[in-house]
Symmetry: C2
Subunit: 371 residues, 2 copies
Amino acid sequence: MNDLTEIKKIIVKKPLKLDCGQEISNFPLAYETYGKLNENKDNAILVFHALTGDQFASGINPITKKDGWWKHALGPGKAFDTEKFFVISANVIGGCMGSYGPSTINEITNKPLGTDFPVITINDMVNAQYNLLDFFKIETLFAVAGGSMGGMQVLQFVSNFPYKAKVAVPIACTSSHSAQNIALNELGRQSIMADINWQNGSYREREKSPDKGLAVARMAAHITYLSKKGLQEKFGRKLQERDDLKFSFDADFQIESYLRHQGAAFVDRFDANSYLYITRAMDYFDLTKKFDGNLSKAFANSKTKFFVISFTSDWLYPTSESRDIVIALNAIGANVGFVEIKSDKGHDSFLLDVPDFLGTLKNYLSSTYKK
Amino acid sequence: MNDLTEIKKIIVKKPLKLDCGQEISNFPLAYETYGKLNENKDNAILVFHALTGDQFASGINPITKKDGWWKHALGPGKAFDTEKFFVISANVIGGCMGSYGPSTINEITNKPLGTDFPVITINDMVNAQYNLLDFFKIETLFAVAGGSMGGMQVLQFVSNFPYKAKVAVPIACTSSHSAQNIALNELGRQSIMADINWQNGSYREREKSPDKGLAVARMAAHITYLSKKGLQEKFGRKLQERDDLKFSFDADFQIESYLRHQGAAFVDRFDANSYLYITRAMDYFDLTKKFDGNLSKAFANSKTKFFVISFTSDWLYPTSESRDIVIALNAIGANVGFVEIKSDKGHDSFLLDVPDFLGTLKNYLSSTYKK
């Protein structure tokens, strides 16, 4: 993996009791910020990343040299307008971009933790990131926002800390991982664990990593991020640099070549064990569990304004699951707005240049901030 | 693999020119029959199996000891009523239940063909099976029928042999494999080829087979056979023989355990190379290709009565793709019926006990046979 030494980190000294029962302390939490915190400290937004994201939400990621994952939404004049807002973005615990995770070196053995890392939850991720409020001495965030697993963190944050964010924007997410969601994540995990190089997670002590298994996991996930219609319009049955079928197992079709590329590029930037841990956290996510299956109770004390966003062609976290959140919020008279954005780009819409989404988000944030 | 010596086979002596250019002859085609061919020889139905099916459509499969794949539809008094019809079912070439395929032994080298087997197409499969009409001395079939890849074979058969079937029943299928379909199949292939035991397809000469890769491929496919709603109703977030989450990578959820079982059971009965070849044939399927993109032309000379069936919750081959077939048939004034069956069971509905489907199919076949 890459050299992560120059990444910004806080060391969380305060003990954190994880859902699994284990207590951690003195652990690193890598973060990045965009824009400036104003004097009143009322312009801070905490954004949460999705499964394979990291703290580099905007600009060029110094490790991968690629654009940040929320480049369309975050920057000067954009929805998360860095001329107006101070945006904090952290790498989740369990991740592989500097925060405490399975690739963290165990200082005693001098080996990566691997599967000695504890199984974590979305709740643990959010509780770890809460420490950034203390670090920046922020009493109340203007907003928390995120898409996909980032949206789950938004919901968990507001449930855990009902007075700590004025606005919450959960995007393309769910309050409870469905059987299909779990099935798709399990598929990815099985693919990684089927790779002979995985070696029960201790591959970092060896020469080889489970790249093939991780690439297949990424291919599987990538298919779920796109809509059937979007795939058809972009790729259809177009051939890859050939006039006709080659009658072989090479990539005849552009979609095959595209997926192979997605898989190969992913293993350069992501750790297989992190993939296992983070998908596990997503599958464990069920915000209603602590509240007898009643989602409304998860937000009982919240004064937060909610703005729930979904996308028409997202079949991974379909609009119906966002609507369940809205219904639960309405049931307790919460301040909630809801918009379903028309897009053929599937679940990935929240990361892409979807003008209706970006414009709606920008309008909501800027008008709510003024009030 | 199992001993296939007692399986019924014809040896096709007549040369068959494959789409890839290669010519094959003297190849085995394994088949099974149900019911009796009547004197007029007007009661024969040729059914085509799907990706992982075989010739054992009904009764107990003597190799796997499991029920045949179309047990709900085929038998005395059922839709394919064996008291009335003579049903022929063949293992596709490329398959692994006795027909010519990658596990066929090359008599010169005494090794399985592996990837020396040619890349085949749905057209090749259908042309190979046409030899069964000669074998049984059947001039005209009463019907051809099949679901999923079986439905593709139905469409191809009628296009190739416009006067050879009175009735055609393509179920839960498409006339052209979509980008998403290709993507999902490519995922399965990459999973198999990522398994270190695949060894470029020569694993049968060695001790180990690519079972892990094939199991992951099966898991991926299995998810696509079920609907999101069906999965949620059947599994939801139910735990597997435990009171609470175990904070590990074991199968906490029933859906995980179920998928692992599906994967593990599959490798006992199916050959990894066959999986590669058959998915490739599906991806190559585009009935419009030879006809300048005009599907109607594929059926221009057909006198066949069509009965197209789709299922509401099938997202792999959604109703819209069946509707495209119906529109193309209507455009040439073909005799075509179409029904979309309401079912939460997803693509697999055509294999399951879905009374509306089975009843509709039975009524259609029996009433059409009388006329």
